[in-house]
């Protein structure tokens, strides 16, 4: 697929306290390879994005507050363009250029 762009630019947002793991910044603009591995023709999925975020963006060492068993930990909702990722194929969803991905930690306080 030589016509597809080399990179994707996506908006990544964190809410419900997850922003504390990412330099206390709620909104990030991320550029990442359109294929994973980048030399392959396999489209980059949310699963790949999550690993990318852990490796490249997370400053906090407590990785298991974000990822568990290779995917987003229980208690985090993932919203793709303002819709629950379960409506979009969960972590197999192929990331598109310009997507907005929101990670929300469920809250329990009252």
């Amino acid at each position: 697929m030589s016509s597809s762009p080399e990179n994707l630019t996506v908006k990544v947002e964190f809410s419900g306290g997850l922003e504390l793991l990412f330099s206390n910044k709620r909104t990030h603009t991320i550029t990442l390879p359109a294929h994973t591995p980048s030399t392959s023709t396999t489209p980059t999925t949310i699963r790949d994005l999550v690993i990318y975020l852990c490796d490249e963006l997370m400053r906090d060492p407590r990785r298991d507050l974000f990822v568990l068993d290779g995917t987003v930990r229980p208690g985090i909702l993932v919203l793709i363009n303002d819709a629950d990722w379960e409506l979009e194929g969960e972590d197999a969803y192929e990331v598109k250029n310009g997507d907005s991905i929101l990670f929300v930690s469920t809250l329990h306080g009252g």
Binding site: G17, D82, T106, H108, G109, G110
Partner: protein, 300 residues
């Protein structure tokens, strides 16, 4: 009962006039509120404003569950309590304020915490439940109970500068009916790791943040209780399941997220449900262990 010529008293027409005249409520809606019973679990930062606006609106019966007593550190956000009532049970303290706001409402105190053994008998008499608690264990217990009993559930939570709101099990169809609304387990099948759970005591909470979520819980309950069927036999129209997320310092402050439908393998609301009334009553479902908490479950 046969329709009365004047189904409300003159005092009630005066008191509820401003909401009665709106087409969204009307006399029918006001009578639905008057015939409705609401259970609020947790008399803290969410439960206080939710109870105030539901009692103001004239629900027939309001039950309140809490095991705690009023502390000084509650008063910046738990607006039904008062400095003089520090040390009193939160349920009794809240009832003092609610009674003086609207003596027409039948107020029912439930001292103590909701447990798997008491949940079904406590929730059974009510038409709708508001989850105003503050631990994962109580949230799963309340959701399971509402699914088992067919009650809609207005669930909110808040921490620091963030809040969340969902109307669950709405409409409250039987387990296995995919047209029912999703339950808490549909959205969160597995509990969060205990080390990721932050309480308001540890993380802090801004008063108007939790206050906004509590007032919106009252609103959602009023919407569910007053919605009209288009005909006698038809089901009322319900909104698609939505998560409202609120963040006080974000722009925009509010976002609405479309949620999934019921999960075909949900442990509570699917045809394959393993959460049963027997399991709940017998105490064989240990929510505290399920959620991996070390501390006892505290309702705030």
């Amino acid at each position: 009962s046969p329709p009365n010529r004047w189904p409300l008293s003159q005092d009630e027409y005066k008191r509820y006039g401003r909401q009665l005249i709106m087409p969204e409520i009307g006399l029918q809606g006001q009578l639905r509120l008057k015939n409705a019973s609401v259970l609020i679990i947790g008399a803290g930062g969410l439960g206080c404003p939710a109870a105030a606006y539901l009692v103001g609106a004239g629900v027939g019966t309001l039950g309140l569950v809490d095991e705690d007593v009023v502390e000084h550190s509650n008063l910046h956000r738990q607006i039904l309590h008062s400095t003089a009532r520090v040390g009193m049970s939160k349920v009794d303290s809240a009832l003092v304020s609610l009674q003086s706001l609207n003596p027409n409402v039948n107020l029912v105190p439930h001292h103590g915490r909701l447990t798997p053994e008491t949940a079904i008998s406590t929730v059974q008499p009510y038409d709708i439940v508001l989850d105003c608690t503050d631990t994962p264990a109580s949230r799963y217990l309340i959701s399971d109970t509402c699914v088992l009993l067919g009650k809609p559930l207005v669930s909110a939570s808040a921490l620091r500068i963030d809040g969340q709101l969902m109307v669950l099990n709405n409409p409250p169809r039987s387990a296995g009916d995919p047209t029912g609304g999703p339950c808490y387990r549909c959205i969160f099948p597995k509990p969060p790791p205990p080390e990721s759970v932050v309480t308001c005591g540890d993380g802090g909470i801004l008063g108007p943040v939790v206050g906004t979520m509590g007032v919106l819980q009252a609103l959602e309950a009023i919407k569910v209780l007053t919605r009209a069927s288009t005909s006698e036999n038809e089901q009322p129209v319900t909104e698609p399941p939505t998560l409202l997320i609120f963040s006080a310092y974000a722009n925009p402050m509010f976002r609405s997220i479309r949620l999934r439908a019921r999960k075909p393998k949900c442990a509570a609301c699917s045809a394959h449900a393993t959460v049963t009334p027997e399991a709940l009553n017998s105490g064989s479902l240990d929510y505290v262990q399920f959620c991996g908490m070390i501390d006892p479950v505290n309702l705030l």
